[in-house]
C-alpha cells in the first residue's frame, strides 16, 4: 500500500459494505428472527397513569385457543425476577421500585401489568383483550414543577417527588460575578419532552435451551453486553455466561435502545417457563408510550455581563422531569451530561447550576440523542442571543468576544470539564462565509422594510463525546466502566477479523472499523471482517452511545493492532535474524530499517505465527490481541451552525430556507459517513425546534401518541444542507477523532429557535419556547404591541 496520505483508507469516503444487504432486503432485524416453535407475546398495559392494581382475572385469556400462558407481575416476582436496575447513582438518589410487570401500583399510562403468550400474534392479541384488570384509579401528577412537594407522590420513598437535588459550580463566585455585572439577563427556558421514534420498533426474541441451560436473546439493543450483564446479574438472577445477547441489525436507536426494558426481561424468563421461544415486537403506539423519553427541562437562567458584552457569570436552575421511574442512566443525563456543558464555547468567569430530578406519572426519561448536551447548548446559546439583544450587540460579535481562544487549550471550565482542543473562531468564520452573513443581514433589513419576516440564527456548540475516564465516572456515580474493548484476530492466511464491543445501529462500523484496521495493517479492506453485536462472538463491550464509537471503540482497535505489530516485528526480526529494535512495519510489510529488501509480508508473519516452527524464545504461537481502551478524557467536538428562516406573515408558518453547518469532529475516518451523521442529527434538532413535542393531559394520557400527532419530520419539510468541516485533531486518543453522532442534534435547536425569534424581532418578541409551530408564532405576532 502506498504511504501517500491522499490514498489512505483512513479518511476516505468509501461506500458502506453493509449497504448491499440493507438495499436488497437481506438485513436481519430482530423481528425477522423466527425459530421452530416461536410464540408471540402481547403485553396488557395500564390505560391509567396512576392506579392500584386490585386484581387481575386472566382465566378467559388462558382458556383462549392458542394461548400458552398468561403471566402477571406476581408470577415474575414469585419466579425470582428482580426489579429493573439503575446504573448511575447520585448522592441521596431516591429510587422507587420498578418491575418488569407491575405488582401493585401503575405509575404511567402504558406500564405493563401482564403478558399473554400464544402460538400466533393474532391469538395473543385476542386473548390480551380478555384479561380483566381491576384498577383503582388514583390522581396523577404530570407537571414536574407542580409535582415538587405536591399532594400526590409518585413513589412513597420520595414524598416530595424530588428524586435528587444536585449542584455544580461555585455559588459564591457566581454571586460575586453577578454583583459586579453591568447587565443581567434572565429567562425561563423550556426544553420540551421528545420521543426518539427509531423507525424500527423495539423487539425481542428469546429462547432457552434445556440441553445447555442457556438463554439466547435477540434484542434491539445499542449495547448487548450491557444488556447481558444487567439482565443476568441484576434482574433474572442467572449466570452471565449462560445468557447470550444478540443485537443484530438494529434499525436506529438514538439512545432509546440503550436501556434494559421490561419486555426482553419477560420474554427471556417466559421462554424457560413455557419451554418455547418467545417473541415480542412493539407496535408504534407502544413505542410512544414505553420507549424511554428524552429532554423535558424547565430552566431558569441568568447571565451576567459587563458593558462590553463579556460574560461574567451564568446561574442556572433546572427542573428535570424524570417521569415515573429513575431510568437506567436517567440520573446522569440532566446532571453530568448537562450542567458540565454550560460553559459552551465561552470563557465564563463563574457558573453555578442546581438540578432537581422530579418524578411525575409519565413515561420515564433517559438519554435521547445528545442526552443533556442539547439542553445545555440551548440554555447557553439562547442566553447569549438574549444578552446580545439586550446590549445591542450583533450575535456574531458577542460570541467572538467570549470565545475561548485557540491558545487556551486544554481549557478548564468552571463546571469540571477540561476541553481537549478547539478553534472556535475559525469554525464560526467559515460558517459566516458560507452563509454570506452580511448579505443576509442586508436582505433581512430590506425584507423588514417590505413587511416580510426573515430571521438568522446562530448556534456555536460544544459537545462532549466518549464519556470518560472510568475512574472519574465511577467516583461520580456511574455503575459501569466506560472503556471499550476490541479483539483483532489475524488468521493464518493473513485475513483479519475485528471483534468490537461497539455496536452499529446505522453508524456503519463494519465499514469504518475495517478502514481503521486495513489502514493500520496496510492490507485491503476486503481482508478485514468486523464483528459486533453478539455476546457469543465478541468478548466484551460497552456498546454505542454518547458519540463514543470512533473515539473509544476505534481506539481500542488501534491498540490491539499496535500489539499485533509489535509481536509481528519480534517474530519478523527472529526470522530475518535482525534485532527487534531495527524492525519497521509499513505498507503491510515488516522490514529491517535501512535494508528494505530484508522483508516479511504481513501474511507471511501470520502464517509463521500459527505454524510456530521457528519462534523467538518465550513467544507464544498465534497472532491476536485484545485491548481495553479507557480514555483519559472526553473529546470535545464543536462548530457553528446557522439557520435562515422565513415566516409567513399571515399564518405564522416558519420555513427553514437554509441550514449551514461547520463542524469540527477531529480527524475523520469516513467523510461520507460523518456527513450523514451530521445531517441526521441536524434534522432531529430542527424537529425539536419546530415540530416535535410530547404532550400529556392532566390525567397523564399521552396526547401525542402516534405519528399523526407527534411531528417526526418528513422530506418535504426540510431543505438540503450546506456543510463543511474544520479539523482540530483530539489529543486524547491515538486516532485524533472526536465524535459526530450527536453534534447536529445539539447545535440545531438553538440555531433554528434563534432564527425564528430573530425573525419576530419587529413584533417585539424576546423569547418563545419550542416547538415553534405556526400557532405559537402566529399568536406571538398577534400579541405584538401596536397590532
Amino acid at each position: 500500500m502506498s504511504t501517500d496520505t491522499s490514498e489512505r483508507l483512513f479518511g476516505a469516503s468509501v461506500n458502506r459494505r453493509e449497504d448491499a444487504r440493507f438495499l436488497t432486503g437481506r438485513g436481519l432485524y430482530t423481528d425477522d428472527v423466527k425459530m421452530h416453535g416461536t410464540t408471540h407475546a402481547v403485553f396488557v398495559r395500564s390505560p391509567h397513569a396512576h392506579a392500584r392494581v386490585r386484581s387481575i382475572d386472566a382465566a378467559a385469556a388462558r382458556a383462549h385457543a392458542g394461548v400458552r400462558a398468561v403471566f402477571t407481575g406476581q408470577d415474575l416476582a414469585t419466579g425470582g425476577v428482580q426489579p429493573l436496575p439503575v446504573a448511575w447513582l447520585l448522592p441521596n438518589l431516591k429510587i422507587g421500585e420498578r418491575r418488569a410487570l407491575v405488582t401493585d401500583v401503575v405509575r404511567y399510562a402504558g406500564e405493563a401489568v401482564a403478558v399473554v403468550i400464544a402460538d400466533t400474534l393474532q391469538a395473543a392479541d385476542d386473548a390480551a383483550e380478555l384479561v380483566n384488570v381491576d384498577y383503582e384509579v388514583l390522581p396523577a401528577v404530570v407537571d414536574a414543577e407542580r409535582a415538587i412537594g405536591g399532594a400526590v407522590a409518585v413513589h412513597p420513598g420520595a414524598p416530595d417527588n424530588v428524586a435528587f437535588e444536585w449542584t455544580i459550580g461555585d455559588a459564591e463566585a457566581t454571586n460575586a460575578a453577578f454583583a459586579k455585572a453591568d447587565r443581567v439577563v434572565k429567562q425561563r427556558l423550556l426544553n420540551r419532552r421528545l420521543i426518539a421514534n427509531a423507525i424500527e420498533p423495539r423487539a425481542t426474541h428469546a429462547s432457552y435451551s434445556p440441553a445447555s441451560d442457556e438463554y439466547t436473546v435477540y434484542v434491539t439493543s445499542q449495547n448487548p453486553h450491557v444488556h447481558r450483564l444487567l439482565m443476568a446479574a441484576f434482574v433474572l438472577g442467572i449466570p452471565e455466561h449462560k445468557l447470550r445477547v444478540i443485537a443484530p441489525d438494529v434499525g436506529g436507536a438514538f439512545g432509546s435502545k440503550i436501556f434494559v426494558y421490561p419486555e426482553e426481561v419477560v420474554a427471556a424468563w417466559a421462554s424457560k417457563a413455557i419451554g418455547r421461544p418467545v417473541k415480542w415486537t412493539a407496535e408504534r403506539r407502544e413505542s410512544f408510550l414505553t420507549d424511554m423519553h428524552g429532554r423535558d427541562h424547565v430552566t431558569d437562567a441568568e447571565i451576567a455581563l459587563d458593558a462590553d458584552g463579556r460574560i461574567l457569570g451564568l446561574r442556572v436552575d433546572t427542573i428535570a422531569n424524570l417521569g415515573a421511574h429513575v431510568s437506567l442512566f436517567g440520573p446522569s443525563v440532566p446532571t453530568y451530561l448537562y450542567a458540565t456543558l454550560l460553559s459552551g464555547q465561552y470563557t465564563i468567569g463563574a457558573i453555578h447550576c442546581r438540578v432537581r430530578g422530579v418524578h411525575t406519572h409519565t413515561t420515564p426519561v433517559d438519554a435521547y440523542r445528545g442526552a443533556g448536551r442539547p439542553e445545555a447548548c440551548f440554555v447557553v446559546e439562547r442566553m447569549v442571543d438574549l444578552a446580545a439583544k439586550e446590549l445591542g450587540i450583533d450575535p456574531v460579535e458577542i460570541r467572538r468576544r467570549n470565545f475561548i481562544a485557540p491558545d487556551q487549550f486544554p481549557y478548564q471550565t468552571p463546571v469540571a470539564l477540561t476541553y481537549d482542543s478547539g478553534n472556535y473562531p475559525v469554525a464560526m468564520q467559515r460558517a459566516l462565509e458560507m452563509a454570506g452573513y452580511d448579505a443576509l443581514r442586508t436582505e433581512q433589513a430590506e425584507a423588514r422594510r417590505q413587511g416580510r419576516y426573515m430571521g438568522i440564527g446562530i448556534s456555536s456548540y460544544i459537545e462532549a463525546c466518549g464519556l470518560a475516564p472510568s475512574q472519574v465516572a465511577g467516583a461520580l456515580g456511574a455503575q459501569a466502566g466506560l472503556w471499550e474493548s476490541a479483539t483483532v484476530r489475524v488468521h493464518p492466511t493473513g485475513k483479519v477479523t475485528v471483534f468490537t464491543g461497539s455496536h452499529s445501529h446505522g453508524q456503519g462500523h463494519e465499514t469504518t472499523f475495517a478502514q481503521v484496521a486495513a489502514d493500520a495493517l496496510g492490507i485491503a479492506m476486503d481482508d478485514v471482517e468486523v464483528v459486533h453485536g453478539d455476546t457469543g462472538r465478541v468478548p466484551f463491550g460497552m456498546g454505542s452511545y454518547g458519540s463514543r464509537s470512533g473515539a473509544v471503540g476505534g481506539s481500542a482497535i488501534h491498540m490491539s493492532i499496535e500489539k499485533l505489530k509489535e509481536k509481528g516485528k519480534r517474530l519478523a526480526a527472529h526470522l530475518l535474524e535482525a534485532a527487534p529494535e531495527d524492525m519497521e512495519f509499513e505498507g503491510g510489510k515488516f522490514f529491517v530499517r535501512g535494508s528494505p529488501d530484508r522483508t516479511k509480508g504481513f501474511a507471511e508473519i501470520a502464517l509463521a505465527a500459527y505454524l510456530a516452527h521457528s519462534m523467538p524464545a518465550g513467544m507464544e504461537p498465534g497472532l491476536d490481541a485484545t485491548s481495553f481502551y479507557d480514555p483519559s478524557n472526553f473529546t470535545y467536538p464543536f462548530g457553528t451552525h446557522i439557520a435562515v428562516v422565513d415566516i409567513d406573515g399571515d399564518t405564522g408558518k416558519p420555513t427553514l430556507r437554509r441550514y449551514i453547518a461547520v463542524d469540527d469532529v477531529g480527524n475523520v475516518i469516513n467523510p461520507k459517513i460523518v456527513d450523514g451523521q451530521l445531517h441526521g442529527g441536524i434534522v432531529q434538532g430542527i424537529a425539536q425546534a419546530l415540530w416535535e413535542c410530547a404532550i400529556y393531559d392532566d390525567q397523564g394520557q399521552l396526547l401525542t401518541g402516534s405519528l399523526m400527532e407527534y411531528g417526526v419530520p418528513k422530506a418535504d419539510q426540510l431543505p438540503s444542507f450546506e456543510t463543511d468541516r474544520t479539523v482540530t485533531p483530539s489529543p486524547v486518543n491515538p486516532l485524533g477523532v472526536k465524535g459526530a453522532g450527536e453534534a447536529g442534534s445539539i447545535a440545531a435547536p438553538a440555531a433554528v429557535a434563534n432564527a425564528v425569534i430573530d425573525a419576530l424581532a419587529p413584533f417585539g418578541v424576546r423569547h418563545l419556547d419550542m416547538p415553534l409551530t405556526p400557532a405559537t408564532i402566529w399568536q406571538a405576532m398577534q400579541g405584538a404591541p401596536g397590532r
Binding site: 423507525i199 441526521g680 417526526v712 422530506a715
Partner: protein
C-alpha cells in the same frame, strides 16, 4: 380463510389466509420476505411500501385477501440476486441509508416516482417521499440518491435505445414488473 393467488417477484403463490391478515404480514410471515418492514401500525412511516400491479402501496393498508390476483414487487425482487438496481446503487453511492430499516420502503417509493417522472427536481422528490419516514439521514442524501438514480436510469435507457446498442437490459428493469418509465 380466504384463498389467494399472487405473483410476488415473478413467482406464483397460492395460500389460504385469515381475512384479517395484512399484505405486509403475508409477505413477511408466510412468504418470509422480511425485507419489507413494519415501522408503524397507522400507515404513516412507509417502511412497508411495495409495488402492487406497478403502483407503490403501503402494504399495511391492504389485506392479503385484497391482493388476490395481483402482481407484487418487493425490495427482494428489484434486482437479480447478487446485483443492485441502479436505484439501489445510487442509494449506496450517495449514502442514502444508515440503519437500513426505512430503506426498502424508501427505495420502492422512489422507484414508483421514477416510473412517472424521469427527472424529478429535488422538491418533487421530497414531495413524492413525504409518506416515507427516515429518522437517520435527514433525507439530504436520499434526495441526492434519487436524483442520481434518475440520471443513471435515463443513461441506461439511452444506451439501450441507441442505434447498434446490444439488446440486453440496461439494468433498469426489475424482474417482475415491466419498467413503464422507459
Amino acid at each position: 380463510m380466504t384463498n389467494i393467488n399472487v405473483t410476488v417477484n415473478g413467482s406464483q403463490y397460492q395460500h389460504e389466509v385469515e381475512p384479517r391478515v395484512l399484505l405486509v404480514q403475508y409477505l413477511r410471515e408466510v412468504l418470509e420476505l422480511t425485507g419489507t418492514h413494519v415501522g408503524c401500525d397507522t400507515s404513516q412511516c412507509g417502511a412497508c411500501t411495495v409495488l402492487v400491479d406497478g403502483v407503490a402501496v403501503k402494504s399495511c393498508t391492504m389485506f392479503a385477501a385484497q391482493a388476490d390476483g395481483a402482481e407484487i414487487l418487493t425490495i427482494e425482487g428489484l434486482a437479480p440476486a447478487g446485483e443492485l438496481h441502479p436505484l439501489q446503487e445510487a442509494f449506496r453511492d450517495a449514502h442514502g441509508l444508515q440503519c437500513g430499516f426505512c430503506t426498502p420502503g424508501m427505495v420502492m417509493a422512489a422507484y414508483d416516482l421514477l416510473q412517472h417522472n424521469e427527472a424529478p427536481a429535488p422538491h418533487e422528490i421530497r414531495e413524492a417521499l413525504e409518506g416515507n419516514l427516515c429518522r437517520c439521514t435527514g433525507y439530504h442524501n436520499i434526495v441526492r440518491a434519487v436524483s442520481d438514480a434518475a440520471r443513471r436510469m435515463t443513461d441506461a435507457r439511452s444506451a439501450v435505445n441507441a442505434p447498434g446498442a446490444p439488446s440486453a437490459s440496461g439494468g433498469a428493469a426489475p424482474r417482475a414488473v415491466a419498467n413503464r418509465g422507459g
